[in-house]
Amino acid sequence: MNSLEARNLKLSAGQLSLDVPHLRFKQGKSCCVVGRSGSGKSLLAAALSGLPVPGMAMTGDVCLNGSPADGPLWKDHVFVLPQEPALALNPTMPVGKQLAEVFRWRSDHACSCRSPGAISAEIGLDQDDLKKIPGQLSGGMQQRIMIAMALVARASFVIADEPTKGLDDGNKKRIIDLFGRFRTSGRGLIVITHDLEVASALADDIIVLGDGHIAEQGLASQVLTNPRSEATRELICNAPQNWPTAPATPQKPHCPVVRLEDVTFGYRRTTPILSEATIEIDGGEIVGLLGPSGSGKSTFGDLCLALQKPQSGIVQWFGSNLNSALIRKRRTKFQKLFQNPVTSFPPNLVLRDVFDKLTPQSADANIKDELMSRLGLTDDLLLRRPDQVSGGELQRLAIIRVLLAQPSFLVCDEPSSRLDMSVQRLAIDVIAEYSSQYSSAVLLISHNETVLRKRANRVFEISHEGRLSLKSYD
């Protein structure tokens, strides 16, 4: 039985550093490395596999079966599943051919699968999919192809770096199921993730990383139920399933802020991505919107914000039909919080300029300072450009910017789903609080059902056919 060991590893790259006195991974076990973003998870993965990371400095040893490895392990003993499968696949070669490469050059003789066709059937792809190039496959499918490669490849360990990043619940579940096969095939599995759901579903052991060191390690069941370190506790309490349920909104006089009636929309006439949707969103209410990726959730938000014109149907703000005068008058009261805080700030401007020149000036000058201090931000951040500020800070600034407009209706399009849970929670909590305080309506878009259940008053779901339906959780 093989083992993978890290001894006296000291890793650093840029701002990040990680200090690992000793870690041991065994074949046949799966181990999850969890931690907030910035805790050095990816550095550990790189060090273990031996893959080059630009700017990384490393001291200490990585040992295979007790003796220091005499070459990078990724070539023979470790198979690495990348964070972004889209970047790891050759964009011009059919995926089947790329899968066949593993059979040709790195196939595991112990593996029962003898052909790309057979393995692809196992992971739920058909022959036609194999003839496609990566750009024609969805993110989930690409990740499954990568897993198929890992299943076939000759390796004692598989290291997966954030394998569920950006995937919706359905795909996530599928990936987790497939990961189970690594254990059954007798390989060791090391999964880097910030998602405790994934960790609890997969892990035998859990390693929790705090700022630059190992905060806690042990059996998954123990660590997750009985955390000993602060870092673990924080992670657990920020996981959506552990969020406190929001108090039910007191029913207010019925006055829909936004109302859609029989709205149909599609970029091509023949295939509507939204058909005959009817919804009313009241002030002070948080409405959740759920749906698989690509199902038109964002488009629905844009329709509510009058950024798109419906093909048919009626959109109303405050009970009156939309027209350009109304839009102009109410524009700043209908806001949107974007998925990625980095793209929602102009990259060339200092943040102060964004707040001074491109943000509605609120009547109350103190609001900004108040929000800043509540979200733990200092004024000197405003002198920087967006790329000089961390993602979490930028997300908080984005929230402040949106709230300064004092919107009556706010669309939150998967806010910070690419950041870690603590930031996500903070974002959603602040918005929920604002919503109840100023009784403004919020449309919360997410592919994470747990988040919506915890925070939304009502949850709607968009199906692939573009049907909107109310989900009940009784």
Binding site: P82, T92, E101, W105, G135
Partner: protein, 312 residues
């Protein structure tokens, strides 16, 4: 994009441009101060001193006395039928002259292009493979220098060196290799400068792509890596750059042929320009433009063929 759509698009573009060039030359001529009928008369009855009477005869036989819009429509129609009329200098059919000179030009352009690519691609690849080395620096400086020096200068130097000093090439005859190789080399040099830089960048870019590393993870041997995974991806920016190469080819045809006294389209164009032989000029310009468009269409088709998966 489907093949049909691509071809339709290209056809439309070619049509538009043909009309654009034809219109330009028509209006430029008809806004000229000189009397076109007189000019034609002078050319047709070379050596004489045509008078107004003769000019009127010409005017009538060429239909120059009709309303200008009718003439314009006729001109466009003629252009679309590739009928450019008769050269004012030789009295021959312009199409006949274009065919004659075009054959000469095609020969040099074809081999010049092949040689240029054959020169640029290995150079660029070697530079990229050994990026940062002295070899790379030397080759990069050399190709940058080549691309900065105007091609007429390269041509002058080549003539002095190979024709006059070494006597390895000639300036007369149209098809013998003694004549052609130095022309081909000059064209090749002049297009290879920038092309090799593009190849270099493309290869370096591709080699830095994460999927190259992951191909190694899949076990692809390092010696096969670039050919299996890099080539097709590195080719794309190079193919995208080809229209620029063709543009340079066209300019080279004009300048280099003039210096080498090679009787191709470019040489003929410069002489037609000097003689103000408008029908020949417009025919030659259009021939060159169409040749350029055919080249870009071919390269687009090639791109489409290689990357058609991507578009669907």
């Amino acid at each position: 994009m489907t093949l049909a759509a691509l071809l339709a698009r290209k056809a439309l573009l070619i049509l538009t441009i043909t009309l654009l060039v034809a219109s330009c030359s028509f209006w430029a001529v008809h806004l000229l101060p000189e009397n076109i009928a007189m000019q034609i008369a002078a050319a047709r009855f070379s050596g004489t001193e045509p008078n107004q009477q003769l000019a009127e005869v010409v005017s009538q036989s060429y239909g120059l006395d009709r309303p200008i819009l009718v003439q314009y429509a006729d001109w466009l129609a003629g252009t679309l039928k590739l009928d450019f009329g008769v050269s004012l200098v030789t009295g021959r059919d312009v199409v006949q002259d274009i065919a004659h000179h075009g054959q000469n030009s095609l020969r040099t352009v074809f081999w010049g292009f092949i040689a240029g690519v054959a020169l640029a691609v290995p150079t660029g690849y070697v530079c990229a493979r050994f990026a940062g080395s002295h070899l790379d620096t030397v080759l990069t400086v050399f190709s940058a220098a080549i691309s900065t020096i105007p091609s007429f200068l390269v041509a002058i130097v080549m003539v002095q060196l190979f024709v006059v000093e070494l006597g390895l090439a000639t300036l007369s005859g149209t098809s013998g290799w003694a004549r052609l190789w130095v022309l081909v080399l000059t064209i090749a040099l002049s297009i290879s400068g920038l092309l090799s830089r593009v190849v270099r960048t493309a290869v370096i870019d591709v080699r830095l792509q994460p999927f190259m590393l992951h191909a190694l993870i899949r076990g692809v041997p390092e010696r096969e890596l670039f050919w299996r995974h890099g080539l097709k991806n590195a080719l794309r920016p190079v193919l995208n750059y080809l229209p620029v190469v063709f543009m340079f080819l066209i300019y080279d045809v004009i300048v280099i042929e003039t210096v080498f006294n090679y009787h191709g389209l470019g040489w003929a164009l410069i002489n037609a320009v000097k003689a103000l032989d408008v029908p020949l000029m417009q025919g030659l310009v259009l021939a060159l433009v169409l040749f350029y468009l055919c080249c870009t269409t071919l390269s687009d088709l090639l791109t489409w063929r290689i990357y058609r998966h991507k578009a669907s």
